[in-house]
Every structure is written in C-alpha cells, then in structure tokens.
Symmetry: C2
Subunit: 577 residues, 2 copies
C-alpha cells in the first residue's frame, strides 16, 4: 500500500476484529469490508482500485468458492490477522489467496515476452515496481518445428498435437518461473495443493500461495493461440481471421500456470500484428503523443506502426530472418562468438576490426555485424550501389565454391543459429569477403540481406505515404527488438535500411514487448486503455498492396536508387571518394 502504483494485483494486510454477538458479520463480509476500508484511506487509491465496472462507483470485490471454503478454520487459526491477495480479472477484484499475518511486502508479478524462439520473463516486485531478476529460455515449441509455420502445420486440426505444443509452451513458462525462483531466492509458484489446502501453511517445497499473483504475457498471435491451446492455422491462411485476439484475463490454473491469480494476454490487432506489438505501443507511448512517431519491431518479421494520439497505421511483413543472423551462411544469433560490430581500417579493406561478443574467436556474424559490414564495404567502394562486390577493390575478396563452408563449421554455429544458411549461392561458386579468419560473407548473402533491408524500408515508406506524410514528418523512430538495440544507426542509414534522419531521432528501445507487459502488470489502467489503442489502429496487409514490389526494387540499391533521399550518405560517400 505504498500508493506508488495500482497494478493488476494488490496485497493488503488486514487486522480484522473477531466476531462477537454484537458484530456477527460473516467472515466473508468482514474481509470485504476491511478491504474497502483499507482502500478508503486514500481516495486516489480508491478510485484506482475501483474498477471501471460498477456504475455506482462501488468497489467490486469477489471471494471465489475455493477461498470461501478456506475461511474456516483459517481466520480463527491466524487470529483474524491475515494478508489477502487481490487479482484483477478484467471486471472486478478477486480475492485469490489468504496468508497468515502481514506478508503484504512479498508481492510479486511476472512479465513475459512470449517469443517464438526465446521466451523472456521478468520477476517484478509489485510494491517497489522494480525488476528483481530476468531470465530467458528457448521456447520448447522448437521441438515441434524451428519456425512457426512448421509448428502450425504440425498441429493443424490435430488436437493431441496442439495439446503437445500448448504443454511445451506452458512448460517453458514454468521452467522460467523455477529459474527466477532460484536466482531470486523467492518461492513464486503456487502448487495446486497449496491452493487446495490451507494457504496459511508453507507447503513441503516451502512455497506459499500468493507471493506471485498474476502474470502478463505479450506474444504474437500464434504464440497466444498456442498458449491457450487454440489451432493457429488461421493465422497464416487466408482470410487470416484468427480464433481469438482478445483473450483478456484468464485464470492461471486454467492455463496450467501455477499462480493463484490471472494471466493477462496482450490482445492483437491482426493475424500478423499481435500482442507483442500492442505491448510495444504501450512501452513507447506512441498513442499518447501529439507528434508522429514510427515504431518498428524488426525480427524474422517486421511489424511497423506510424501515428500518434489520433491514428495508428500499422502493417507487418516478412522482414527476413537475415536480420537475426539467419539466411546468411555464417550468420548466427547475437550470442557468444558473434561478430557484432565491424570496422574497416584501411581503404583496401584488408584491415578488418571485429567486435566479438564474449571477446573470443569469432564464430560467425549477427545482424548488427552484418549491417556494419555491408555499410563499411559500401563506404569503402568494395560494394557498389547495386550491392555487387567489386573484386578489384579489395584483396579480401576471394572466389569461393558455394559448398566450401564445411559442415563442421555449420554444426558449430547451429546451436546459436536460427536457421540454415541461404541457398542463393551460384552453382560454381561466388565472390565472398573474408571478414575474419576463415569466415566469409558471400555475394548471395549480400543480396539476401539487401532484400530484407529493402522490405523494411519499403514498409516504412509505404505506411508513411498512406498517411500523406514523409519521413521528415516523423518526430521519433523507435527501433524495437534485440536486433535494434545493437545496430549502429549510421551503418543502418548508410545501407538504406534506416531513413536518413538525424540519428538522435532514432531510438533503439529494446524488448518493448516485455516492457509493455511489465507496464501493464504495474498499472491496471493500461489494460483499460487497450481497446482504445486497438480502435486507433488501422492494419494494412502489405501482401495486398499494389506496387509494393516495385517500391521494394527501388529500395534495393545501396542506400536507395534515389540517392537524394540520403543526403548524409551522399556526403559521406564523397568524403571517402
């Protein structure tokens, strides 16, 4: 009750007066009235705890059956001094746990970014608003397919297989809870036994019901379908009408997640514009601004939103796994051994400085490294504006047979890699640039990557043109995703992936999906605002846009066929020339 925030959960310590013949209110009413009295202390709190529901302005608090059954002999046993855990269910507050004495300080929640590859979970202290600890793990769904589409086909109209994938999803979440418990030294999971029996007693694992009450999950539409056990074929097949896009607050136990409260799943706008992006809106606050902003979550897919408090135009498209190190032959995820930054120190390009994650021997190259590399090659004239390597410009360019990347090398990278390499290499061989000992960046890799950056740029350009605006009308650019955080802005501008605007207007905002989840966990009003955000949004299917491919072709030069769009790059090129 520090008044700092009113999230989707509350813990309140109640010192109830024991019943007498003069005051023989039921245990139920005694608790409900004590909660109301407690929240009355602070009227601003009151208005916060009072839901948007209830036209009388009266707080709606319910005690569900399992807790009603626990009241006796619990209340007497704890001498009527107890802590209640309250969880918001979307319409009212539910009393979801009772604990002996004052445990109101041990009040936690979980924020989850449910990615198709990686799931990230934060343990949040809901009293202080601080993140206690964060963990991530591979999504166990991967066992049913590396990419989302394989998993969807695996489970399509096969309820047993869908159930396998649902379980894998829940297990990933529960494993992360275990990891967080271990690292924070705080019991978080509520065993179903603890919920069934008297919650006053610690169970055999030392766990207590009510320490961690609720969870907020932000994931794309497929991930949300899988978590809920819904067939996701609809996400990828015309007419792209999904089963459910606004699941709201669901009982944790109903989903198999060991918390006494609720799991809130961020709603989605469309099949390819899911809860992770809506969560990103909340994290970046686009919908509250007067000025126009552009939000871009770049990953295997690119999701894009342009707008302000009056409108949000959005779209999504395959930005290409190139950005996460896929497709590219020596590409890898941003993990230990990945080249994350590149600088050419001599004009001939033989002096390549690499910044390797973990500092050891380079094993491959990740997204931000690729952008640096292509930018440097282009700036030094080793790559022409059509994206072709100029063999005579550097001794580091060699002719390589397409198969020379040994299978051992590939196996070594596979553990950190998203997918297999591209197969655009010429049959007989192709030029390649050696960026580190034994590691080559191929002509075909370059073309693959340019397609990706052209798609990304074209999506931005197209969405803006739809609003009748251009890049100069945009105040701020928010580049979300792990990828965005490590990208050198100048490099990305040089290659025409980012627009040529003042770099201070480009913000790498990291995992906004996770951040939005945390924000909602700590501020219930966010949940109530979501319908407005969804209403503001207009979704464009890029696949259905006429002329999109032509625009993309124009964006497939370095930085763009229309160099006037990139005055700063032009200036830098002149500087090198």
């Amino acid at each position: 009750m520090n008044g700092k925030s009113c999230g989707i959960t509350r813990k309140l310590y109640l010192e109830l007066t024991p019943p007498t013949e003069e005051d023989s209110r039921s245990a139920q009413q005694r608790i409900l009235e004590a909660i109301e009295a407690k929240t009355d202390l602070d009227t601003s709190e009151m208005s916060k705890i009072t839901g948007s529901s209830g036209n009388t302005g009266k707080t709606i608090i319910k005690i569900p059956l399992d807790i009603l059954r626990k009241l006796h002999p619990f209340c007497q046993d704890v001498n009527w001094k107890l802590t209640v855990s309250l969880a918001w269910d979307g319409t009212c507050w539910q009393v979801v746990a009772l604990e002996a004495g004052d445990t109101s300080g041990a009040h936690y929640g979980l924020a989850v970014d449910l990615g198709s590859t990686t799931v990230v979970m934060q343990l949040v202290d809901c009293e202080s608003g601080e993140v206690v600890v964060q963990e991530s793990a591979y999504n166990r769904q991967i066992a049913y397919g590396e990419d989302i589409l394989s998993r969807i086909f695996y489970s399509k109209d096969q309820p047993e297989r869908l159930e396998e994938i649902r379980r894998a999803t829940v297990e990933t979440i529960v494993t992360l809870m275990e990891k967080l418990e271990g690292r924070a030294g705080i019991p978080l999971r509520t065993s179903s036994e603890a919920l069934e029996t008297n919650a006053a007693e610690e169970d055999s694992d030392g766990n207590r019901a009510g320490r961690c009450i609720s969870m907020v999950v932000a994931g794309n539409t497929t991930m949300t379908h899988f978590l809920l056990g819904m067939d996701a074929f609809c996400v990828f097949s015309t007419p792209y009408a999904v089963q459910a896009d606004q699941p709201g607050f669901l009982k944790g136990m109903e989903l198999g997640i060991p918390i006494p409260g609720y799991v809130f799943c961020y709603p989605g706008k469309a099949n390819y514009l899911g809860g992770d992006i809506i969560s990103g809106m909340v994290a970046t606050d686009l919908h509250h601004r007067d000025s126009i902003s552009l939000f871009f979550d770049v990953g295997t897919n690119g999701e894009l939103v342009v707008g302000n408090r009056d409108f949000l135009l959005c779209g999504a498209g395959a930005a290409g796994p190139a950005l996460e190190g896929g497709v590219v032959k020596t590409g890898m995820r941003a993990a230990e051994g990945a080249v994350q930054h590149v600088k050419l120190v001599e004009d001939c390009g033989n002096g390549v400085l690499t910044d390797v994650i973990g500092g050891g021997t380079p094993k491959g190259i990740c997204g931000s490294g690729i952008i640096d590399l292509i930018s440097e090659l282009f700036m030094h004239g080793i790559l022409d504006l059509r994206g072709k390597l100029v063999p005579e410009a550097s001794d580091a360019i060699v002719w390589r047979a397409g198969t020379e990347d040994s299978s051992e090398d590939r196996a070594e990278r596979a553990s950190d890699s998203l997918g297999c390499g591209g197969d655009a290499a010429g049959q007989d061989g192709e030029y390649a640039f050696q960026y580190a000992p034994g590691l080559y960046f191929y002509q075909s890799d370059i073309h693959e990557f340019i397609r990706t950056k052209a798609a990304a740029y074209t999506m931005m350009e197209y969405l803006l043109s739809e609003t009748g605006m251009n890049l100069n009308d945009v105040g701020d650019f928010y580049m979300a995703g792990a990828f965005g955080s490590h990208v050198d802005v100048t490099s990305a501008v040089n290659i025409g992936m980012y627009p040529d605007v003042d770099p201070v207007r480009i913000h790498a905002v990291g995992n906004t999906s996770l951040e939005g989840a945390q924000k909602l966990l700590l501020d219930r009003s966010v949940a109530e605002e979501l319908p407005e955000i969804l209403d503001l949004m207009t979704y464009v299917q890029f696949g259905a846009v006429e002329g999109f491919l032509e625009k993309m072709t124009a964006a497939s030069a370095l930085p763009h066929t229309d160099l006037e769009r990139y005055p700063s790059v032009k200036a830098r090129l002149n500087q090198y020339a």
Copy 2:
C-alpha cells in the same frame, strides 16, 4: 428474444458473416459484436442486458477459455450459424455454450428451494416465463441426521464428512434435474464431456449443452453452507458469525452441478435468517410497499419480517416442529392419510368431521388439522383457556397411558413424519381426545402446540412493539410455507396463533422461497436489488431479548391472557356459550 423479461441467462441465435480478407475479424470478435448488435435492436433490451457494471454503458460480454477453444472448427462446421448461451456472473455476461443452428427457443433455467427436509425444483421456460414442471424430493442430507443440528455436529471440523454432506446435497439436486428431465422430456443436464467436447453434437444421452443454463437456489444459511462445502457449526454457535452469507454467482461445474452457467445462491441476513427468507421478501415484494406488511415463514423455525420500503425488522426463533406435525404423537407431515381439517358437529364433540388428504383412512394429523382441532375443542368448551382438556365436556376424551400409541402405528406414520413424537406425556397416562378411530390427541400434545403458537405470536408482537407499532398498523400479513397454505385462518385466530385481524388481510402465500428463486431467474434486476434489501433489514436475536419469555407466557393462553386483543374470538365464544 421476446423481450418479455431479462433474466440471468439469454440465448441468442447469431447468423454470422463468414470471414473474408476484407473482414478478417476473429471468431471471438465476430460473436461478441453480433451479440451486441442483436441487443442493440431494442434499446430497452440493451439497457437490460448491459450490466450495472461498466461505467461507459458498454455491454461487458466475455468468452471464457473453454469456449474460445471450441470456436474452431465449430464455427466453420455450423456454417457460422449458431446459438450462444449467455449467463450473468454477477458482473458481466459469460458465453457459456455454443449450439449449432437456432436453438434459442430451448432456453431453460431452474429455481430451487433448498429445504433441510424437502428440496423443491422448478423447471422454468426462460423465454415464456412459464413453469414447465415442478418436482420435490427429500434432502439426502437426512442420511446424516434427521434434523439440521445433527448434520452440523456430524460434519463439524471433519472435512471428509462435510464433503459427504456436500455431495448428498448436490446429488439431491442432480436427482431432481433427472426427474424434471423425465417429466418434461427435455434434456437439461450438461455432461462434463459435452462441455469438454464439441457442444454442437448431441452426446450419447441425447443431452445438449446449453438447454438449461443457470440455477437459482434459495435455502437457509446452513443449507447454503452445505451446498458450498462450508462448515456450518458457526450457524448455531455463538457469536453466530457465519463463513459466507453472500456467495453470489458460482460456476455450476465448480459446485458439481451439470449446467454450463452459474448457480446463484440467495444471500442471507443472519445465521437464522437465510436466503430462503430474502427470497420470500422478493416473492412478496415487502420492500417495495408503502404500507407496513408482516411476513411470517412458519416451519420448524419461524422467520419473521415486519416493514415496508423504508425498513425491515426481522427475527427468527424456534417456532417448534409442532407446526409440521412433529412433536405431536400422532402428528405427521401433510401427506396422504393426514387429517388436514377438523370440524366438530355436535357440542359434545363426539361428531368429529375430518378432511383426510387423499380421502382414505386417517393415519395421523398435520399442522392445519391440529390448529382446527384445538380451535374446535376450545370453541366447544372442551378445552379451557389454559389449554386443559375438560373431560366432562366430551365423551371423546379418554384417559390413556402414555405408551399406548403402538409401535406399529408409529412406524406406519414414520415414513411421512418429521420426527418422533413428543415425550411430554405423564408417566402414568394422560387425557386425550380421540379425533378419529384409534387416533388420539393428547394433553401433552396440546401444551406442546400451545408453546409453539405462543412463540409465534410473541415474535410478531415483539417485532411490532420494537417498531412502536401494533397489529392494527399492519396492512397485510403474509403467511409463507407449505403449512400456511392449508391453515384455516379463523381457526388460527381462535387459538391466538394469528392476530385477530380481518381475515382478508391474512394471505397464505405458499413457498415464497421457491417463488423468489424463480423471480430472480427471470429478472436479473432482482439480484442487483438484494444488497438494498439486506441493508434495509435489521435483525433481532429473539434469544437475546429481555422479557421475551414473560411475553410468551402471556400468549400461552387460548387465545391470549388478554382477551381484549381477540374481540372476534370473544364474540364467537359468546356465540357458542
């Protein structure tokens, strides 16, 4: 959708437009928006379906997880033509069942009077508001004790035994559902399989999910505790603070009752003033009137309410099982063979006319018969005003040994009787009046009964005096309970059980507990009004009232020590004299 009423459930037939690329709303939104559109057709309906929750006036409708999981392939399979069942959960509407095609006409609900001895259930057609069929059954809790107190002690602090009683309660309800199904020829129960699997298909029993959606239960505080699986010792032990008195809407499945919607349990005011009485308030509308009314539910216990729209003063006390045919040695429930009315045709009392239920040989006497009998004996001078038989006044009075009522006779009656006979008979014997061949009404029976009527009268008198009013200030008297329905008003006045007022002001209103349950089932606004009714009520513990016993003693004469209170009886006595 006939607009006649808006109960706690709705069935709506929806013809949804199948998704297209232009309209790719999710199945979830498609259904929610169709429901809203349907209710928009009629604005009065809209305001009814829109809960008191939602300060935006927006309808709150939720689709829970089990139904979300069913959307695919259900919607396609039924060509997007389906009927949704909506159940009010106290705060919003929940979509609890989906059926193929238009089944909106098959929309039923259940009203239950959960008595400690008898459980009565009505199958209500929620579209027409008509009662389709009604059934009753003994409460299976009886296996754990004939009277409530035995059951409470049996299960006190014994969770396994409490669970036995809870199961017995639920089984009684489920058995009644089966009976109603059989009589009405309508499948009502939703098997848990039907809820788990595709509800579009009839299950092997031919049942469909969604035919019968929700249930309203009115029962006393102990019955509600047992139904919910809560220890009920608190109801009978000081300080009389119960576990829960306002359980509200609980999922049927959570309680073990095979309906897809909710079970609403009428709230109670106090330990001895439970949901059955609050339901009675709703049935008789006391709380809406300007004039003062008196409500009296006479049974094993007597519950009493006096008041109008401004106040409701209430109390409860042991009226005595005498009224239901208990205690009295040849007493029996109002079943076949019971003498329900008595008339003495000769002054000497030898000509006894009896009206026997079923018309056959009399087997015993029920409450209304006893009242007639005592009234007739008194009017004919066979009983004096102290309640003593006057042996010289009638040849039908004989001296009987206390044990002469043979065990066979008693066994015969036992099947219809509430309990064993009283044991107030003198050791050596006592006077008795033979009211039918071989059937005697004993002096000790008379005293037992007079105690009961004195208690009933004193409760009325006391409550009225607390309000500063007297009987003449009361406009209408509502006598509830099966007992009240058969009592001859003049007889009850003659013996001083009912006050001496114009008989047209005394209304036998029958099973108001059941009637109030049915009313709420068909009118959701009743549920929202209940907190106001509870607030209007002030509860008096008669046990704690000073001078109560003295008042009762004064009321223990026939009709009362103060004969001036009974001018009409005085006039009738003069007539006979």
